[in-house]
Symmetry: C2
Subunit: 407 residues, 2 copies
């Protein structure tokens, strides 16, 4: 258990009063593996959510957006094994059927149910199996279902992803627990693949939505595995209010402390996704400093973080910095001047003022690149903006996993 | 030998009067393999050229641009094994030293020499070796050096790339012969890795430059292997005029016929580059129709053509069209509506009006995808614009080649 001044990290997921979960095998996966998670939210909670910006979003994303505009959610239904994307009008109907069945079991209106799906795109969702599974799934919800739920939503993930903290706010010790899944088709745009985070703090709905968006932008929206934004990305933050205490918003003195605990959970889940990137052997932070704007930094950082040539060099622990330089040079940042560029890997300066640092020790860089986590730092010499994007290397296993995914 | 109405394709490179070549081993590669090509151009020729838009272009690109602005080239000096990029002021000096040495041997001004380099980025060019090699290289130029030159400029290329036609113009039968190299770091932007094409027609200099740019935009600038634009991309088109005949330009009745022959050579070289893409097993044309503008079509086509998930599915011959749909959806084309999207592979319609085509035969698509060359056709339903981008698949060998390149 790590302790900071503002929050305490828990190595096992803390239960959140007002949230109960269950994980079942509805038969969507052929293997009989668990594939369906329900998350029940007690009345009185607030819910924030952000979704993919892929314009061809999946049916459950459309339905969730519509339902969120109608009422406060009482239940999340998440299935793995089928994304219900590219499924047209039928896919929309299937998602609604699942919501209706779940609502009957829980005793709420259908609009209070949010559906989420992840898995293969373009195949019809076996909705009847989910409909049949709802009564048992909902009857079995428990406080301590987080770890099982994290496993239940996995697809090509090798490890389940959970993070949990207790914030030390003056008004109370609020818990935050979250789960996420994702290992490929990862370049979230306003949200990651799937992430569900809950706190027992009471948070004003508008403040909760703003916080969800803001923190997602600093965590899930700063990672890339393959540059492919999914059709199903969704991130939900639930505040049950069951810890008591005042309704928090940005004007409350506890807000910064509370937000930092929530951000820790988001960031830990983001890092876990990249670390588990398909075929990944390394987690690499690409930091770009010196932009006129964050947009400058993001362009350069993503050009490097998504370059197949850079990513294969990361896999090989090869200090082939020319590939980094070339990626920055094609990134589209306006008015780049090579004389202003510097590059370092780990603590080793490689390029300064656009030229190789005299006598720089390539073997020292190779040693850094053999470690599991390190930083590539790039300066572009315009202004004070900076940003960091997390990426991973590109290995034989990335090709194997994605060439074999459906077989 | 294939015959069209407008030009005749030659399976071996035709010599071009006014162009002589030689290929030598200057010792830049450790293996003793040939690494240096000189191309001598007779006085009176016109030369068009386009270069990379990577803002961190290599020293030889800078020098070639400056020299072209000064005088008409008499000699091209091309080395493989070292890109002379990311080499700062020293790299610029090294390129100038090679030009000066070559100019002394040929007896021309240094500005009439254009340098080109390809190979690893960020290591100093062993200029002294090139300087020493110039007298012998230039003394040995011959008419029939095209095939050897195509081999001499290879780096990770598995096959040499040559194309040759004779155009059937009313004013004369003009020859066009070209060579190119490139297999990785390929998303040319106004030029490919390296391509040198010559004709014996007489062409007005301004018309030749316009033709070079226009045809490069329809050939080399429509291919991608890994989305990484090189620092060294250069494409040169030489018109020696030694076949006699009138000075051609866009107003001449022979222009369309002549231009079509030149375009054939550019396109064949472009296709040869993608077919030889690092680790590639397939050549896939991604055609997007229905854009309001070519820009719409290019955005969607490159999003698909560069998606690692699409490219691994191509490798696996897996009709995982959801990945294609997801890539179009994140491409940034404004106002996309899924109801307007259709997708086919080969002749098989898969998606129409945004929904899977009822009863479409997945095994038929898999059979298409097992062939060496096929088309993915996407319609986006706005207007009349269309474009085609060539790409290849993403295989284990891509990772192997790029993880091992420098070792």
């Amino acid at each position: 258990m790590t302790v900071s001044n503002l929050f305490e990290v828990s190595s096992t997921p803390l239960s959140i009063a007002g949230v109960r979960l269950n994980t079942v095998a509805a038969g969507i996966r052929k293997t009989g593996r668990v594939d369906t998670v329900v998350i029940e939210i007690a009345p009185g909670a607030a819910v924030g959510a952000v979704f993919t910006r892929n314009v061809f979003c999946a049916a459950p994303v459309e339905v969730s957006r519509q339902h969120l505009a109608t009422t406060t959610p009482r239940l999340l239904v998440i299935n793995a094994g089928n994304a219900n994307a590219g499924t047209g009008v039928q896919g929309h109907r299937d998602a609604l059927d699942v919501c209706a069945a779940a609502a009957r079991s829980l005793g709420c209106e259908a609009a209070a149910v949010l559906p989420f799906s992840t898995g293969v795109i373009g195949q019809r969702l076996p909705a009847a199996k989910l409909v049949d599974a709802m009564p048992g799934a909902i009857a079995g919800v428990t406080d301590d279902g987080w770890e099982a739920a994290a496993k239940g939503i996995m697809t090509t993930d090798k490890v389940s992803k959970v993070a949990s903290v207790t914030t030390a706010c003056a008004s109370g010790r609020y818990r935050v627990t979250g789960i996420a899944k994702g290992a490929g088709m990862i370049k979230p745009n306003m949200a990651t693949m799937l992430a569900f985070i809950a706190t027992d703090a009471k948070v004003e709905p508008a403040a909760l939505q703003a916080l969800t968006r803001e923190i997602a932008d600093r965590s899930f929206n700063r990672i890339t595995i393959d540059g492919d934004t999914s059709t199903n990305d969704s991130c939900v933050l639930i505040a049950t209010g069951q810890a008591g205490g005042p309704g928090l918003d940005a004007s409350h003195p506890d807000w910064a402390t509370f937000a930092q605990g929530v951000e820790h959970v988001f960031v830990e889940l983001s890092r876990a996704i990249v670390r588990d990137g398909e075929g990944a052997t390394k987690l690499v932070a690409v930091t770009v400093r010196g932009g006129r704007s964050e947009e400058d930094c993001l362009r350069a950082a993503y050009a490097v973080a998504e370059s197949p040539l850079v990513k294969t060099a990361l896999f090989a622990s090869d200090p082939n910095w020319g590939r980094i330089l070339a990626a920055v040079g094609r990134s589209g940042v306006p008015d780049l001047r090579i004389e202003e560029i510097s590059i370092s890997i780990g603590e080793v300066a490689i390029v300064a003022a656009g030229e190789p640092v005299p006598g720089y020790d390539e073997s020292a860089v190779a040693r850094v690149m053999e470690t599991a986590e390190y930083e590539i730092a790039i300066a572009i010499g315009f202004g004070p903006a900076r940003t960091t994007v997390l990426t991973c290397d590109f290995s034989f296993d990335y090709v194997r996993i994605n060439a074999e995914y459906r077989s």
